[in-house]
């Protein structure tokens, strides 16, 4: 595995002769988010998991606020992973904000991607004239405050324990709330990049077959946003999962796997 592989903690599993499914985690966690889904998909597909730089076991030293200032910067990493692993015909599954990263990557290099699965996507979280994203600017500031108050006890000394011992994961797991731990500075920056992004205009440029997956109830990506994304991407399909919350891959893994697998295999 080369530089990018280590930088993004890329993990490849599953059938080497199967189609490639790349699973991208969103804001708030890391590739652990796919732990109920990835093993099932690995039976029929080659599964590529990774952590965005700044999350999980990625190389934290590679993170710079100016280097990861937009979703395009994250999309570039996705393309680099594809290039490094020489992937083509990728079925890209992006959860939450990563759905939009997938959109940006697929516009830039459509030939890399066979299909896009946008899992609870939102192209713009903040309300605008004639558009309801669900949040106001003040709400986002409130989230940043929540992040600050919950990371008060976060210690930079934790990072090496969790990130630096990939061969001894039990070291990290002894900690309370050990999953999805993020350096507060990085979390804050990623939250800004995520929730202040607006890529509504890019949706119409998607030329890859796309599946939009939403949940019946999701405060972060409400159904009208799902409908908006579906309407903007020509020829896209929309599936509504009987699940609540923003992480159906954890709360309703079976239906999530079914939605991804049936679309990916078509």
């Amino acid at each position: 595995m080369g530089d990018i592989g280590a930088r993004n903690h890329v993990v490849v599993s599953g059938r080497t002769d199967g189609p490639t499914v790349m699973l991208a985690h969103g804001f708030g966690c890391d590739q652990n988010l796919w732990r109920l889904v990835a093993p099932e998909l690995a039976r029929d597909f080659r599964v590529v998991l990774f952590d965005h730089v700044g999350a999980g076991r990625s190389d934290l030293s590679a993170w710079r606020p100016e280097r990861y200032a937009t979703l395009d910067d994250y999309a570039e990493d996705i393309l680099r992973i594809c290039r490094e692993l020489d992937l083509s015909d990728v079925v890209f599954v992006g959860h939450s904000v990563s759905a939009m990263m997938g959109v940006l990557a697929a516009i830039q290099e459509p030939q890399r991607f066979a299909k896009l699965v946008l899992l609870v996507p939102s192209p713009c979280y903040i309300d605008d004239e004639g558009y309801r994203g669900g949040f106001s600017r003040a709400d986002i500031d409130e989230l940043l405050e929540s992040l600050d108050s919950n990371y008060l006890g976060w210690s930079a000394a934790m990072a090496p324990v969790i990130m630096g011992n990939p061969d001894r994961p039990e070291l990290g797991e002894e900690l309370t709330n050990s999953f999805c731990r993020t350096d507060p500075l990085i979390a804050r920056s990623f939250a800004r990049v995520t929730f202040l992004s607006d890529h509504r205009a890019e949706l119409a440029k998607v030329s890859v077959p796309t599946l939009v997956v939403e949940c019946v109830e999701d405060v972060i990506a409400p159904r009208e946003v799902g409908a908006f994304v579906h309407a903007q991407i020509e020829g896209s399909r929309l599936v509504t999962l009987p699940a609540t919350g923003h992480c159906p891959q954890l709360s309703a893994p079976e239906v999530t796997i079914e939605a991804i697998a049936s679309f990916a295999a078509r």
């Binding site: 966690c29 989230l143 929540s146 919950n150 008060l152 709330n177 999953f179």
Partner: protein, 407 residues
């Protein structure tokens, strides 16, 4: 109860447990909020304490609202992106700071701990949550957070000030001297303190230039004011009488006059004059307590150029300095440096205390020779960088060279 003795202890135990006789009452009126929700977040059970805090009736919440409905919007975002996934992944989440919205719209800062309850078949059934009022604690934490943010701002301001001050004490660029190449490097050990090293190269007449390099004792604001005094004294003294020994005498007198008694300030320095001479430059220099400069010759040799008897400058009312004349011919490079370079802790085996040392520097210079001012400075800057954390002091480097024919 009052009478100590036989059987008393037993009675106390029985009496106490009688007071706390109802698990139901303990649940309802516990000093914390209790909440049980279904896996999709719907509220299934809630205790009286929490209802009291929120100002809702049981009927308004049970079966009608989800836990995340009770949160502020920012808190809901946090809940969806962090809390809920974490709870699914590890079965419990502890001590998360959130804010609840009460019925009258006010906010209640709380600390939330949740645990998934599984049935006999091991499948998750519901989520139990305890909620503690954290108003006071949150106010305190906000103060801490604000103090930290202010401290970070102050540090940024300080570092900006230090950078500006540092730049004001060093030449922004070295002047062009016809027939001579000059290069310099400055390594600042700390971003929070002004370094005590200094150097300069400046014209005296159309055919004479002065240069100096030195090291003030200490660092920080105090050292910066001394550095400023030294710089201007050296420049002014050289205009008046450019003999290096006289210039250092003047500096010695100025420093000793300004700083004596309980706040002595002193420095080490090399001061030199250069003038065109044949195919190169003649250099006269004097040193006060400073490590000798190195001459890297065109023939590939390198040697220290000591100036004996040079005392620390500013420590005694009068000091004796001696001068030395050097001819800098084509292909020769004169290298001045401060002791941050030789005293860097490199773990070297050649020196008793593991510092880089004079011998290693001599060997390094010999390998470089013949060289040019810019190549020598680049090589030394690379060497310094390689020292990593072993380089704990400021380091200044100034190199002067005469180009070889055809260069």
């Amino acid at each position: 109860m009052n009478a100590p003795g036989h059987g008393g202890r037993r009675e106390v135990v029985v009496f106490s447990s009688l007071l706390e006789d109802s698990a139901e009452d303990l649940y309802e009126n516990a000093p914390c909020g209790y909440l049980s929700t279904l896996l999709d977040g719907q509220i299934a059970k809630v205790n009286a304490t929490l209802l009291g805090w929120l100002g809702y009736t049981r009927e308004e919440l049970v079966g009608r609202r989800a836990f995340s409905d009770l949160l502020t919007v920012g808190g809901r975002l946090y809940h969806e992106t962090h809390f809920a996934p974490l709870l699914r992944l590890q079965g419990e989440v502890g001590g998360v700071a959130l804010e609840l919205r009460t019925a009258d719209g006010s906010r209640l800062p709380v600390l939330v701990t949740s645990k998934v309850k599984s049935g006999a078949d091991g499948r998750p059934q519901l989520i139990r949550t305890t909620i503690f009022d954290a108003s006071d604690r949150r106010a305190y934490e906000r103060e801490l957070l604000r103090a930290r943010q202010e401290a970070e701002l102050d540090r940024e301001r300080l570092q900006r000030l230090v950078r500006t001050l540092q730049h004001s004490l060093l030449p922004s660029s070295l002047p062009q001297v016809p027939g001579l190449r000059a290069a310099a490097h400055y390594h600042i050990a700390s971003r929070d303190e002004v370094g005590g090293d200094f150097y300069d190269l400046f014209p005296l007449t159309s055919a004479r230039w002065g240069f100096f390099l030195g090291d003030v004792c200490g660092k920080g604001a105090g050292a910066a004011t001394v550095t400023s005094l030294i710089r201007y004294t050296l420049r002014a003294a050289a205009v008046y009488d450019s003999d290096p020994v006289t210039v250092l005498d003047t500096l010695n007198a100025a420093l000793h006059q300004e700083y004596h008694g309980d706040d002595p300030r002193y420095c080490t320095a090399i001061f030199g004059i250069l003038a065109p001479d044949g195919d190169g430059f003649s250099i006269t220099l004097a040193s006060g307590g400073h490590p000798p400069c190195l001459l890297l010759r065109a023939d590939g040799t390198a040697d220290y150029q000591p100036t004996p008897n040079g005392l620390l400058i500013g420590i005694l009312p009068s000091a004796t300095f001696t001068s030395r004349a050097i001819h800098l011919g084509p292909g020769d490079t004169l290298l001045l440096y401060t002791d941050g370079l030789t005293e860097a802790r490199t773990g070297a085996t050649g020196t008793p205390d593991g510092r880089f040392g004079d011998e290693a520097l001599h060997a390094f210079a010999t390998r470089l020779a013949p060289t040019t001012a810019s190549a020598a400075v680049a090589a030394l800057a690379g060497l310094l960088e390689g020292f990593g954390t072993g380089l704990d002091d400021d380091t200044a480097i100034l190199a002067l060279s005469v180009p070889s024919p055809g260069e």
